[in-house]
Symmetry: C2
Subunit: 344 residues, 2 copies
């Protein structure tokens, strides 16, 4: 009997990756720029193409794939019961600025298009899937009450409460970046989504650029060099994030907060600022909470979607052998490749 094989796909605003894995590890990885021209079926067809190419590179038959796990940009909507991606970063019909999204899509019918092709199909947003991956293989092992937070160009999260993965009615749980951090909008920055005073508008990477006038990398460099302006901007950012995380813990009573994403890579600077402010919050809710840096940052593209569909029997061997650290090189496909479908 041939071994079970799994496919994993990660759909981002700029690139989409696919991989095929067997019980011993990742067999092939491919990526391509995320397609943004054509009809609303374009991206589902790209997913099928990339999985087929990953299978070909791995030397396996596509029909052996028993499950596909997709980690994707979000939010989601539900149409006729099927999950639809309604991300303004990909769907031109929903974007506030059309330059990067040369299409008029109002939704990507991922589930409807792909459900017939795989015995098991699971779809989650990129932070919810990251939470699953960190709990299985990273900084969250064995923890039932955890929050994974991406602190990067945007801010998002995924959470387990009492061992249960929060998804919600349309799989839109944990849009932490869009929580309101000031009930009074006066003088507060506007978010990419159109809202005001959202955590993402106040504390993600672009907020550093806006407040400091240079890149987050430069701001942290100058923070370390002791520059007063950089220190002011970073301290304010950390304070706001700490209060956003306090709000999460007030609602979820989490024990562990895992920080991932590019901004959080400056954890040496941020940790004392964030945790100091966090523990100043209401003691019965904040005591006993611990913070950790992500352990999987650069592997989430491979592990996030995969974790959604990984059979129980694979988990312990993968935890022991960490095969993602010996994954094959990612093969770049030309932008036009596969535009006509799963061929050639």
């Amino acid at each position: 009997v041939a071994e079970e094989l799994l496919a994993a796909v990660d759909i981002g605003g700029t690139k989409t990756t696919a991989s095929v894995s067997g019980p011993q590890g990742i067999l092939a990885r491919v990526y391509q720029a995320t397609r943004k021209r054509g009809d609303e079926g374009t991206i589902p067809r790209q997913v099928e193409y990339l999985v087929a190419r990953a299978c070909r590179n791995a030397g396996v038959v596509r029909a052996r794939i028993t499950a596909l796990g997709i980690s994707t940009a979000s939010p989601f909507d539900r149409r006729d019961g099927h999950l639809v991606v309604v991300s303004p970063n990909i769907c031109g019909g929903l974007a506030r600025e059309r330059e990067l999204t040369p299409n008029d899509w109002t939704g990507i019918p991922l589930e409807e298009h792909l459900a017939g092709s795989y015995p098991t199909l699971r779809i989650g947003n990129d932070c919810i899937t990251a939470a699953v991956a960190e709990r299985l293989f990273g900084a969250g092992r064995g923890e039932n009450d955890l929050v994974y937070v991406t602190w990067s160009t945007g801010i998002g999260a995924g959470a387990f409460v009492d061992g249960h993965l929060l998804t919600g009615k349309n799989d839109n749980a944990m849009h932490l970046g869009h929580t309101i951090m000031s009930w009074d909008f006066a003088g507060q920055p506007q978010c990419g989504c159109g809202g005001y005073a959202h955590l993402e508008a106040l504390a993600a990477g672009p907020a550093i650029q806006r407040e400091y006038g240079a890149s987050p990398r430069q701001a942290f460099e100058r923070y370390r060099a002791g520059e007063a302006k950089a220190q002011g901007v970073v301290r304010r950012l950390a304070l706001i994030m700490a209060r956003g995380l306090y709000n999460v813990v007030s609602l979820l009573d989490s024990r562990l907060i895992i920080l991932g994403g590019s901004v959080s890579k400056n954890w040496d600077v941020l940790e004392p600022l964030v945790t100091g402010e966090f523990y100043a919050g209401f003691a019965p809710l904040t005591r006993g909470v611990i913070f950790r840096r992500s352990q999987l940052d650069e592997h989430l593209g491979d592990l996030a979607g995969l974790s959604l569909v990984m059979p129980e029997a694979w988990v312990a061997p993968w935890q022991d052998h960490r095969p993602w650290e010996q994954a094959p090189r990612q093969v770049v496909l030309e932008e036009s490749a596969g535009e006509e479908g799963v061929g050639p």
Copy 2:
């Protein structure tokens, strides 16, 4: 074979109630002022006394009680694995003002004290238990993604996500009243817990009193009479609550929000204000969310703790016959009764 009997207790800052129920309905109900003098075992002993008195009034033997469900003021802490109530409204050792809490308790060892006395013991805070009751018998029937919110002298909540009741590491989930509604504390009111800009400090009943200079009841009366000042205060309150509820939905992707508590009884005034502001939030997260008033407000004292331990087989008949509406009169016990223990 004698029928299974259940006991339910509701521990509040001022009174504690107990009831005994059989499959057909509530058999007896008693209440007494919550005891605040003595050692830390005082309240657990009061619970045992009240259950014993309810049994006596019902004419049943205490030994037939198979499960006790407790709904209580919170928050909780965990000591040696056991849930401990650390409510500043009851524990003088934790209170900021000692007048109402003439004791030096730092925690009420409810679980440790009572676990041996009942085959099944479940404890939840009064909002989490209310969410369970509303989902079984009230405004939340059949709904897997709901939030119950108490909007009263304080603000609290309980939630189901994907059909899972959120409890968290120390059963402290959904302390909505203590979420921060302004990252900048300057000029923001202080909460009873000591924090700043908490939703409870900004939008609970006492905030109306503070801003309007008269009781919430008077403010709503004058709102209806068209008074400008009352309208300004109530509108601001509703706006802040709407943004707090938006934050909950951003994290939990709920479908239904149930409002209970004394302030929410003015739902005729509040509904258009709260929902209008709420739906102005990020559309993928807010569309499809519905609001309802609590259906069990005055019955929560009886149903909240009971719902935690009610056997599956009782649920459908109770849903059909609503026996809580024909419950016996609540018997008031003297403050001193039972101070010496479960006797006489």
